[in-house]
Each structure stands twice: as C-alpha cells, then as structure tokens.
C-alpha cells in the first residue's frame, strides 16, 4: 500500500485564495470603516466567483483533485487543503448563491432611505463575507482541527445574521442557535481530539488509510456526527432552525438555509465515507437514514401547518435536509463499485446543490413579498401573483425543485434516489421519498394557489418593488431548474479525485 501524501498541485493556490479572499475583505472593511463595506463586498464577489470558476475549470481540465500544502509543512504536522469534484461543485454553488444574495441585498439596501454604513447593513456585509470564507474552508479543508476553526467561523458569522433586526424574538432565536452550534462544534472537537490520541494525525487523507475498527474511533465518530447533526438541524435536533431562519432578514435567511447547514452535512459525508471503517459506516448510515426519513415526513407536515411564509420555508429546509441523509445506505458501495460511483451519490450531490439554489430563491422571493406587502401571512396574500409576477414565478420554479417535478434539479436528484431505493429493494425509503414529494407539493401549492387566486378585495403593494430585486430570486430559481438537464447517470465531475480514497473500502 503506497501511502498517499499531499502534494501541491498546479492551481492549488486557488484553494488558498478561495478561503482567504473573503477574509481579506472582512479585514479591509474593519480597517477602512463601515462606509466602504458595500463596495469592498461587491469587488470581492467578482473575485471570489472567478476563483470558484477557476477551480472548477482546473478540476475538469486536469481530471484530478487540487491540493495545497500550506506553508509547505507536510501533514500531519502541517495543514493541507484539497478539493475533489464534490468540493468543486460546492465551491461553485456557494459562489453563485452568495453573489446572487449579495446583489439582492445591495439592491434592497439601496431602497432604504439612510445612507450606507448603518449597523444592520455593515454587519450583513461582514458576516456574509466571513461566512463565504468559512464555507470554502469547510469544503476544501483536509485537517480535522482546521475544519473545527472553519466551523466556528461559520457559527460566528451566522449567529449575528439571525438577529440583525434586533427584536427580542430574533435575539432569542440567535442565542438558542449559538448554544446548539457551540455544543455541536465542541462535540466535534472532542471527537477530533480522540482521533488524534489514537492515530496521531488529523489529516483526513491519512486517516482514510489508518482508520480501523477500534473503540476510540467509534466513540470519536459518534460524537462528531452527533455534534454535526445538531448544527445541520436534522430531526430531532432541528428545534433551533425555524425561528432562526424565519426571523432573519430575507438575504440572511437565504444564505443560512441554502448554505450554512450544508457545511456540517458535507463534513458528515466526508467522515462516514472517508474515515469510518465499512461496518461502522453501514451502521451509521442506517441510523442517519432513519433520522433523515423522520425529518422528511415530520417537518414536511410541520411546513404544511405554518401560517407564515418564511416559517413554512424554514420547516421545508429541515425536510429537504432529510433527503441528504437517506443517501447513506443507498450509496453504500460494494467491492467493485465505490460509493461515489453509485447513482445515489450523484442524486445526493444534486439534491445538495439544487436545494441550495431553490431554497435561496424561495427565501429571496419571500423577502420581496414581505418588502412589498409588509407581512408574510400566507392567508392574507391572495392574488399576490398579479402584483409580483416575477417573484411568484421564482417561487413556483423553486417549488418544482423541492417537489421533485421535472424539469428541475430536484427532480433528477429525487429520481436518482428513488431508483436507488427501488434497485436496493428498500421500499420504506422509496415510500418516504414519494411521500415527501407529495407533502412538498402540498405546501408549495398552498402558496401558488394564493398567488393565482382572485380575491374579492385585490391585494395592493404597500410599496413598489423594483424588478431588479425580483430578478435575483428568479435567476437562482432558473439555475435550480437548469441543473435538471444534467443526464441521469453517475456524474463524472463528482468522482474527480475520489479514486485514491477507496482504500478504506477495500475488504
């Protein structure tokens, strides 16, 4: 067995830029004062998007993972960064959502009377940029402790976003979110400590080769996964999410729901697939799938019962996250077919990306609605589609993806998962996927129905909303639909850089 070591690849420095550029912008804002926040943020969007696209291009052209050994100190003493196909997809998706949300927020801030530099606006820019850094660091991180710092960066960026409006309810939600997130990251850190104590390294690539069946590793993985589940808000640890995501301003909700909770999910995926020995991975996969299925069913029903639009979307987030966890048993690989070669793996990755785009679009559309009518009570929104046709269209297109109706990214994802469940002879999961789709249809149509209704008293907008604002939501929704046009088979891009890693799966 030749030990895999990290070696800096051409283009590896892009990973450093992806992680560090937004942080540079945060420091620049801090040093130069709140007034320049928006300008610095917009410039960083362009640069960050370019870096993400460059990474994806480099991955496609070389067909191999990108690596960077920071400071040329080889792990385990030093830290390495690495991006494979899945990381690359996450980086591009993150950049797209962040830029769209950032443009939305910029237009929205322009509607407000006071000049820039205010408390909520400045905090939003700083936190959005920091969040971007943190997400990129999670997606390219290769060192368990480095990932811990990235997770904490993510928490500290996300919590102030929740209570930007400064009302008592949102501060309560932020505090609860902070405590959940802290317990989560501390449990994760504890697991990392145990792994170091057992193997003397924190490097994921090294652990993929060293890991074997032993009690310390089992305890460590259990702690880390539970901690990450609390951060990912999987049922029954989801209680903090709806008030936090529904109380934030729309652009903040969009990034929180679309991106922030994906980071812990991504890490669970890496831990279960790369580090856990096969038997442990199988057991963990079964348990995660049960929780995922419960999440889909319970929170879809909860979404159906919400009176407020943003709370409904927030519950839908928990339900949609559930799909990502039923991937684990479905993607269980075999000797000749590694997990990332299965259709369930592709389905899960597509679900991750399409949900991010669709959910961001939905929250932005809900933001436009709240901006226009001053409230988001679903019952009082009859006929809003006539006033805000673009937003209603964005909501509907995003809804297609959540329901899993063609043509949409969500359809391809759920279709692949369903096929995998049927092939594997797993009727319960197949039924859950179908039921989740029906329930999602119910809650999305509840809103669409209102949009198309002809109320006796026509609804009027409290204030005019510029079309540009609505277009950001529509663009994301269209992107979510376009993902539906990738072919229905294991997607090659997602397998880039995975082939070296199947050592843990060899019997």
């Amino acid at each position: 067995m030749t030990p895999l070591v990290h070696a800096t690849t051409p283009g590896g420095f892009l990973l450093v830029l992806a992680t560090i550029l937004p942080v540079c912008a945060v420091l620049a804002i801090l040093a130069s004062g709140p007034r320049s926040a928006a300008r610095i943020a917009l410039a960083t969007f362009a640069a960050g998007l370019a870096v993400a696209i460059a990474i994806a291009t480099e991955l496609i052209s070389s067909g191999k993972a990108l690596s960077y050994v920071v400071g040329a100190w080889q792990p385990p003493l030093g830290i390495a960064l690495r991006a494979d196909g899945l990381s690359g997809a996450m980086l591009v998706m993150t950049a797209l959502v962040v830029v769209a949300v950032g443009l939305f927020a910029h237009i929205q801030h322009g509607l407000q009377t006071d000049a820039g530099g205010g408390r909520a606006q400045t905090t939003f820019w700083v936190m959005l940029l920091a969040l971007w850094s943190a997400l990129n660091a999670v997606f390219v991180g290769e060192d368990l402790f480095n990932l811990y710092v990235a997770l904490e960066l993510l928490t500290f960026a996300a919590v102030p976003l929740v209570c930007l409006d400064g009302r008592a309810e949102t501060v309560t939600a932020a505090l609860r979110y902070l405590l959940f997130a802290l317990i989560g990251s501390l449990l994760y850190l504890l697991g990392a400590g145990l792994i170091y104590g057992q193997y003397g390294t924190l490097d994921l690539l090294a652990l993929a080769q060293l890991a074997r069946q032993d009690p310390a590793l089992a305890v460590a993985l259990a702690l880390m996964i539970v901690g990450l589940l609390a951060k990912a808000a999987l049922f029954p640890l989801h209680l903090w999410l709806p008030p936090a995501h529904a109380g934030a301003p729309a652009p903040a909700s969009a990034v929180l729901s679309a991106l922030v909770i994906k980071a812990p999910v991504f890490l669970i995926l890496r831990l279960v697939l790369d580090v856990a020995p096969p038997q442990a991975a199988a057991i963990a996969g079964q348990m995660l799938a049960v929780l995922g299925a419960a999440s889909i069913l319970f929170c879809s029903v909860m979404a159906l019962r919400q009176a407020r639009l943003k709370l409904m979307i927030a519950y839908s987030t928990v339900a949609q996250i559930g799909y990502l966890f039923i991937v684990f048993p479905l993607a269980a690989g075999s000797a000749d077919l590694p997990p990332w070669g299965t259709i369930a793996w592709t389905g899960g990755a597509l679900q991750l990306v399409s949900h991010a785009l669709a959910k961001a679009a939905m929250f932005l559309a809900a933001g436009v609605i709240a901006e226009a009518f001053g409230h988001d009570r679903i019952a009082d929104l009859g006929g809003f589609g006539r006033v805000l046709p673009i937003s209603a269209a964005a909501f509907g297109l995003a809804g297609l993806s959540l329901m899993g109706i063609p043509p949409s990214g969500g359809f391809v994802a759920k279709c692949l998962l369903l096929t995998a469940a049927v092939i594997q002879g797993n009727p319960w999961l197949a039924a859950t996927i179908l039921a989740g789709g029906v329930l999602a249809g119910a809650y999305v149509f509840r809103v669409i129905d209102k949009a198309l209704a002809v109320p006796t008293v026509p609804i009027v907008a409290r204030r005019a909303v510029p079309r540009r604002l609505e277009c950001a939501a529509l663009a994301l929704a269209i992107a979510a639909v376009l993902i539906g046009f990738v072919p229905l088979r294991p997607f090659g891009f997602l397998q880039i850089g995975r082939d070296g890693l199947n050592l843990a799966w060899a019997p």
């Binding site: 904490e152 501060v171 317990i183 400590g193 104590g197």
Partner: protein, 111 residues
C-alpha cells in the same frame, strides 16, 4: 492500576467526567447564564482530554506533544469569544424583554 494514575490518563478521565457535567448543565440548567458557564466546563473537559493526549505523547527529550497543546490554546481563545458573544446576546435579550425602563442599570458593579 498504576497506569490509571499516570497524568496522561488521570486527567483524561477527569476531562471525560467534566464533559458529562458540562453537557448536563448546558442542556438542563434553567438559567441561561449558567448554561454559558456549563459550556465553558464542557470546553474545559475537552481541552483536558487534548492535554492528556499531549502528555501521553511524551518521549525522550519531550515532556509532551506540542501539537495538541497548541490546538488547546487556539480552542481556549475561540471558547472565550463564544462566551463573550453569548453573554452579549443574553444581556441584549434582558434589555429588550424588561420593558423600556430608563437606561439599564448595570453601572452599580464595577467588576
């Protein structure tokens, strides 16, 4: 038996117990400030486990493995920042929920 008394094991077990105590406090204590303190005890327990790991890594010429020790230093600073943010949220919450009586009177205690 003597193996348990090695600092590298004994303080690891102490850390394990502190994790349990801290976790219990964070989840069940009715006072939110005490939950934050509980978080700190949980953190202290985790850091002690790291410390035990570091102490076990002693070898000829080294008292301990410096890597986990450095991680703990980073962790302590992050934990303090978390406490500060949580305390600020808690204070803000108290100000918002106790109706708008004049300026909040926190000036009485200097410490």
């Amino acid at each position: 038996m003597m193996a348990v008394l090695q600092p590298g094991v004994l303080f690891g077990l102490c850390g394990a117990a502190l994790v349990g105590i801290g976790l219990f406090a964070v989840i069940t204590h009715p006072g939110l400030l005490r939950r934050i303190v509980g978080c700190n005890i949980l953190g202290a327990g985790i850091f002690l486990v790291f410390g035990a790991v570091a102490r076990r890594g002693a070898g000829p010429g080294f008292d301990a493995d410096p890597v986990p020790q450095a991680l703990v230093i980073t962790g302590i600073v992050v934990a303090f920042s978390a406490s500060a943010l949580a305390v600020a949220l808690l204070k803000r919450l108290a100000e918002l929920t106790v109706d708008d009586r004049a300026a909040p009177d926190e000036s009485r205690s200097g410490l």
